[in-house]
């Protein structure tokens, strides 16, 4: 694998290991729909731009996963990336960047 997303992804994986780990299936990242990839991309860019750490994001993500019981019919990846959007909004709100 060439440079680029690989190291970034490895960094994200390491930071989110455990209950907040990226959805994978037999080691493969699961994106069922393009919005889930967009959500991941937004997270990567927002953290880069704001200087927030993955540890900080992980705290919001863990809280969002706890607070958001999966809706009936939601797949694991859908539920995860829905919580991911919650976490991103919470992080931006905490930093006063979003209302």
């Amino acid at each position: 694998m060439s440079a680029g997303a690989g190291p970034r992804l490895a960094e994200v994986d390491a930071a989110l290991a455990g209950r907040t780990a990226l959805p994978r299936d037999n080691g493969e990242l699961v994106f069922e729909e393009p919005w889930q990839g967009r959500a991941l991309g937004m997270g990567v860019v927002v953290l880069e731009r704001t200087g927030a750490s993955w540890g900080e994001f992980r705290r919001h993500l863990a809280a969002a996963i706890r607070q958001r019981p999966p809706e009936p019919g939601d797949s694991a990846a859908s539920a995860y990336y829905a919580a991911w959007l919650d976490a991103l909004e919470a992080l931006l709100a905490e930093r006063g960047l979003l209302p």
Binding site: M1, S2, G4, A5, G6, R8, L9, D25, N26, G27, E28, L29, V30, F31, E32, E33, P34, W35, Q36, G37, R38, A39, L40, G41, M42, V44, V45, V46, R49, T50, G73, S75, A76, S78, Y81, A82, L85, L88, E89, L92, L97, L98
Partner: protein
């Protein structure tokens, strides 16, 4: 088929898709994140682990008989020569099409896929109808993909698992003599390496 713990049924999810789009628009409006910055990240995933890695492997196999031999003998070791690999390709088996054998890959249990060489699996690959029918009636399914195979061609269906991933090495199309490896790799689409299509000399 036994129930698998992962649910991959494609389903409309416009509610969440709209929400993601709204957040992205808000980020852009606040000047926090430009859409093209997100595009760049998403494209990195696609480019770095997209089907073009597999296409390079196939093009190399077409132009270098020694590599082809090594690839068919030990896929994992051979793709490492090109710098490809990873946990999802720990046991990659390359299967070559011939004038009498056509190979096609499925994962009947879930969606095992040689991610490091083919990128993200297409939605249909994960769909229960494809998974079930490709085993039961491969010729009919391939016909629906637009691939009509002569009756005398044997179809071999390879069922992926967490342990073994398969890569189809299609036949080099006629009329491509003298083309460079780079040009050839552009003829090798993702579907060619799953086995639901064959490369066309004039494509893409």
């Amino acid at each position: 088929m036994t129930e698998h713990r992962h649910d991959h049924h494609p389903r409309p999810d416009s509610r969440l898709a709209l929400r993601a789009r709204a957040l992205e628009a808000l980020l852009a409006e606040k000047g926090l994140v430009a859409a093209d910055a997100i595009d760049a990240v998403v494209e990195l995933y696609e480019r770095d682990v997209g089907p073009q890695n597999g296409a390079k492997v196939v093009a190399r196999a077409w132009t270098d008989p020694g590599f082809r031999e090594r690839l068919l003998e030990d896929g994992t070791k051979a793709i490492a020569e090109l710098g490809f690999g990873g946990a999802e390709a720990d046991n990659l088996v390359a299967v070559a099409n011939t004038p009498t054998v056509h190979n096609v890959v499925v994962c009947t249990l879930c969606s095992c896929y040689p991610w490091p060489v083919l990128g993200l699996p297409p939605t249909w690959y994960k769909s229960p109808p494809y998974r079930a029918r490709m085993v039961a009636e491969p010729r009919a399914v391939l016909r629906e993909f637009g691939l009509e195979l002569p009756d005398e061609v044997e179809i071999r269906v390879w069922d992926s698992s967490a342990e073994v991933r398969y890569l189809v090495v299609p036949m080099r199309p006629a009329g491509t003599d003298g083309l460079t490896e780079e040009v050839l790799s552009a003829l090798v689409t993702r579907d060619c390496m799953i086995g639901t299509a064959v490369p066309q000399a004039g494509s893409p």
